[in-house]
Subunit: 434 residues, 2 copies
Amino acid sequence: MILVSVDDHVIEPAEMFDHHIPARHKDRAPRMVKSPAGDDMWSFEGQLLPNVGLNAVAGRPPEEYGFEPTRLSQMRKGCYDVHARIGDMNANGVLASMCFPSFPSFAGRLFVQTQDKELSLAVLRAYNDWHIHEWAGAHPGRFIPLALLPLWDAKLTAEEIRRVSRLGCHAVTFSANPVDFGLPSIHQPAWRPVWEACSEEGVVLCMHIGTGGPLPFLSPEMPIDASIAATPVSIVNTAADWLFSQVLRDHPGLKIALSEGGIGWIPYFLERCDYTYQHHRAWTHQDFGAKQPSDVFREHVLTCFIDDAVGVTLRREIGLENISWECDYPHSDATWPRSPETLARSLAGVPDAEVDLMTHGNAMRWFQLDSFARLGRPSCTVAALRAQAKGVDLSLLRGQGGKPPSASRRPVTMADTMAQLAGALDGQASPARR
Amino acid sequence: MILVSVDDHVIEPAEMFDHHIPARHKDRAPRMVKSPAGDDMWSFEGQLLPNVGLNAVAGRPPEEYGFEPTRLSQMRKGCYDVHARIGDMNANGVLASMCFPSFPSFAGRLFVQTQDKELSLAVLRAYNDWHIHEWAGAHPGRFIPLALLPLWDAKLTAEEIRRVSRLGCHAVTFSANPVDFGLPSIHQPAWRPVWEACSEEGVVLCMHIGTGGPLPFLSPEMPIDASIAATPVSIVNTAADWLFSQVLRDHPGLKIALSEGGIGWIPYFLERCDYTYQHHRAWTHQDFGAKQPSDVFREHVLTCFIDDAVGVTLRREIGLENISWECDYPHSDATWPRSPETLARSLAGVPDAEVDLMTHGNAMRWFQLDSFARLGRPSCTVAALRAQAKGVDLSLLRGQGGKPPSASRRPVTMADTMAQLAGALDGQASPARR
């Protein structure tokens, strides 16, 4: 088995901007600071950003998961140190990984909101340069680089897509609903330069859950488990918006990825979209020509799953070429460090060629990843990588976290999680757990 | 084949309150009035409610579907006349139907918002008495009666559940998120009398899409098709909230129905809930005892589908006893008057006993419908009912609608639909289409 994960997360290290920010912006680059309580936070343009390690709990025993940590020292080094990350990937048999940002938010909302757009652009480019050269570049063939975009300006965004493409980066993170960032919807012509740049450069727009569109929040008392269970499929709204937009039909070369959305619901969704088209097109004036919406989906959309036996069973109804796998390291949904064993259960009985497409082939093709040429295919298997991980310490990380989300044994709610995050900002959430 | 539909809609007729409102409230009961432009609207407590026929387009050619009509005369008589409705049901081979309200909204939000709660309660009870006696009661065995609830007061709600249960009504319409009505969440102990009344009386809480929780609205330019495609699965948020709440585990006899939610996504959802439970329970403190969340779902939740081949294929992963069918007459998603033919395609190859459960058996058991005892099973089949429909005029209803949602041939957007609805309120949306 060979594993390529299209959705993991990097916790940015303190020194990331040291070598990439232009001299005139150096003093105003984001800095990692210590709060009076000893927490690590990013400071940028007068804001304190406490989510230095949002849900980065890999390696903890599950009873100590939570939406802190607030200090790098509370996490595995693999969260923020690329060499340690390679060790953690090896321990899990993962050949390559695409890592979403943390402190700027998954799609860079922070930089859209920054007032000084010249500064914002300089910082964003520095981020991308660090990510491409120092993070992904440190171990060629082991990462799918992923760039942030200056979404407040479509022309700058198109330029950045072309710039990072020249640097070998074929994935960019985009909002699941730009309107939530205060930007035009995907239906506005303003975005056309972006769609063209992606099409021409073969760069995939990746839309991670939680970067726009409605989320499952019904009340503060909603159990956190309900939110965890229902959040991935919330990307269905983005999928529907794109599928019935003119954008995909107008740009045959444009590719998009639904990041952390799961796959088992896709066959239902495609049937529903085709039904909607056949049943309503006469009055809604949709025109897919000789195709159905499900055909257009399969031409343009890459999906991914962590562990999804229903989706694997229905792989032909999704599209064998449209499925990829993710680990979600270091977040609490991750299967690290037992991904191969977890996956083997869902993949039992699936022909090898189809396993290969879902576990790495599709991801490598969509994102132009050349690991086999660089490393030789025999070095890329789970077994070969794990053989290199002998020195990686997998003992559980106990007692490293901040305070637990709920003081009592009652089920944890959305309100508990919000309080835990807000507490981090007050510098009050991090008395050691014991 | 025998068909029982658990989700249709009644367009309330003008005279509905004539026989049921107490004398002292008679002057303040909702009245149907004509706007200056000739549209029918309900008038109640100083409000004009234009959605007299929200999406009641059965019988129109699809190119004339829309979110008007605004006059009873623009609809099939079966929308608001129970005897004509029986004709339309016969023409479609439908034995029995559960009809959600229209002008008070699907879950009675109107009555929650009314200031004078004594009046509101009187009107709501009159509505239920009309629905149970005059609508469902006009043709015994042909309807599953469905009552509205005075949701602003849990004690009154429990009393109304017990009252309608004594009248033979075993279904009530409840909000998919009461917080959206300004009410406590389902996790609050305030609701306990309601859960107890339902459990003790065998009354099912039905939660229709659109009655609470996040909906797929990303921007005004979002294609209406995207919203139509993605709205049913939005009930996933409600399903997750209930499943991880303590309510179902604390009330083993409580039953809920997800109305118009579709079914093909349920196997993914149940796998995801079980994964979430196994993966996160150590820190979220959830406790399902010896069960998994999917077990609790199957003990408590009835689902339904219009046409859903993926869901039918996965019926065992959903639960053979948890699936029912709906027609959605007279809304634009309905398969009327060709439901048997549409269904036959999705049900091809399914054993008869399983078809029977999904098409009527489960619905009759969950809602205690006694059509076979009343009418004799041979009279209940599609063929027998259609034989009674010889006089029903099925010719298309052309040129009856208000103005089309979009003046041009470009695809219809959310904004177009909103303008069509708002235009109805201005009395400006209903110049005849030709």
